[in-house]
Symmetry: D2
Subunit: 99 residues, 4 copies
């Protein structure tokens, strides 16, 4: 008899409100990227484009921080309480990735 065991991937259930907030912020970022593309096609000055890109960079970090804060207080706490301490390796890796 066959038994197909599907690897259950990790999930993070999110509230509709949280999904909407993040979705709006990501949509705004997409708009900013399209704006940068237009600036490039229009031969606008490099320095102005670079300032825009640094703003986009900050916006991405800000979204990441929002997700991380939620992550630390929900997934990470509940994993540690269940004894899954390897979640700390994930946090440590993330720390370096965003440094």
């Amino acid at each position: 008899m066959n038994k197909i065991v599907k690897k259950k991937s990790k999930v993070t259930p999110r509230s509709e409100e949280s999904k909407k907030i993040l979705s709006n912020r990501l949509a705004r970022l997409e708009g900013q990227l399209r704006g940068v593309n237009k600036m490039i096609q229009d031969d606008q000055y490099c320095d102005d484009i670079l300032i825009q890109l640094s703003a986009i960079d900050k916006a991405i970090k800000s979204i990441a921080n929002l997700i991380l804060d939620e992550h630390l207080k929900t997934c990470v706490v509940s994993n540690i309480q269940k004894g899954n301490l390897e979640v700390m390796d994930e946090i440590s890796t993330l720390f370096k990735k965003f440094q």
Copy 2:
């Protein structure tokens, strides 16, 4: 008779090839942002989403470095040769913005 005087803003003429390369990279980034949004709507695990966001962050810095390299060797050099040394204040500001 009317004469409309438009403030001439600074421009950086770019080759068609350069425009195409940057345009492709920005379009890819937009796709990655849409991917992150989908991950959020699908309740995927925070850590996986954060790793994606750090990759997007690196991609933005990489595009910025591409534009900056071009900028340093063209606009900045020609400005200094014309005696417009205030272009160095722009570089100094950019340096801090991306630090």
Copy 3:
């Protein structure tokens, strides 16, 4: 009768080995900073000095990551297990400080 109540500050007991490793790395960094100072007094080229400073910057982050890794696996885990979840706000703040 006097009773002196001293505010008990938080402590992190460290092994002698861990203290020695960190102490050595910090002493090396102090030496690098003295080296940079000598380069400045000797009128050495700015670019060489800035490359040294970027190496020192990386070394500091690397020491911080070492301490953080230990912190996550000891203090943070034990705090969460005791129900002191506010330790997560500290991690979130650190994350931003090193970004």
Copy 4:
């Protein structure tokens, strides 16, 4: 007869005032590193030590920015005016190193 030819390395002449300012700031940083070492030997709380390290990290970047600003307005400008455009590759590399 021997003639010893020493490779002339690049120099950046600095004013006594500039040397003194940078020297003081570097000495202060050395003091901060010794302070961090003492905190570690005294078993102080990791989070407090990490906050100190992030302050030291910012102080190093701030010294680097001071040196870079001077560098851009003196060495870099004079190099470009002499036609040594490869100085821009140095700036581009520094930009990435401090990113």
